[in-house]
């Protein structure tokens, strides 16, 4: 099965939920990761429900923020 992850082609052996895929991709600190699937930003609550399918485009990034105090 072929998907695109952050612009790169990626082969995976089967369909995964978004959360499982982040595990497979060895993404650390998942609680700070935002995921976009086929140009739609996903709610974190849906990570266990939504299945990544063949041909999907997945983008993920880390939260960027901070404070002056």
């Amino acid at each position: 099965m072929n998907i695109k992850v952050n612009g790169n082609d990626q082969k995976i052996d089967r369909e995964y939920t978004v959360r499982e895929l982040l595990d497979v991709l060895n993404v650390k600190m998942k609680e700070y990761v935002t995921v976009q699937l086929n140009d739609e930003i996903l709610s974190r609550d849906d990570f266990d429900k939504i299945i990544v399918k063949d041909g999907d485009t997945v983008e993920f990034l880390y939260y960027m923020g901070g404070g002056s105090r």
């Binding site: 880390y62 960027m64 923020g65 002056s68």
Partner: protein, 137 residues
């Protein structure tokens, strides 16, 4: 070392002044050659916290910027945010939320209105190390 054009520096400064007293933020991308990081594009982002003491980048704009950088064969060099009322040094929260030690974290202080200060830091395991910035024509 960060190598930044005067135009890009002005873009960051104008954005920070315009947003003040809210913290301003953005992303820097370009080309890395050894220790030298040549900033080729500064992308201004929305601080969705709209706070004078905190910032969170708009994730939708983050995705758009990262795709745009990729299309232009740029790598993400780092991010910047302003400290409207405090010095250009990473706060404890800045350090806690700096997840990537390969990125540069730039802070632009407007504490002295006539003398803004821009500094860049590498943050690793909660420790920050200042890196040089060269602003050139």
């Amino acid at each position: 070392m960060i190598i930044l054009s005067k135009n890009d520096y002005k873009k960051m400064l104008d954005h920070a002044k315009k947003e003040s007293p809210i913290e301003a933020c953005g992303l820097l991308a370009g080309i890395v050659d050894g220790e030298k990081k040549f900033v080729k594009e500064v992308r201004l982002l929305t601080n969705i916290d709209r706070s004078p003491e905190h910032f969170s980048m708009d994730p939708k704009e983050q995705f758009e910027a990262l795709k745009h950088f990729r299309e232009n064969k740029f790598v993400l060099i780092g991010n910047f945010h302003s400290h409207p009322q405090s010095p250009a040094r990473p706060s404890e929260e800045d350090k806690r939320l700096a997840f990537d030690s390969k990125l540069s974290y730039l802070i632009l202080s407007l504490m002295e209105k006539e003398n803004p200060v821009l500094k860049s830091f590498i943050i690793e395991d909660g420790n920050s190390y200042e890196e040089d910035i060269l602003i050139e024509d």
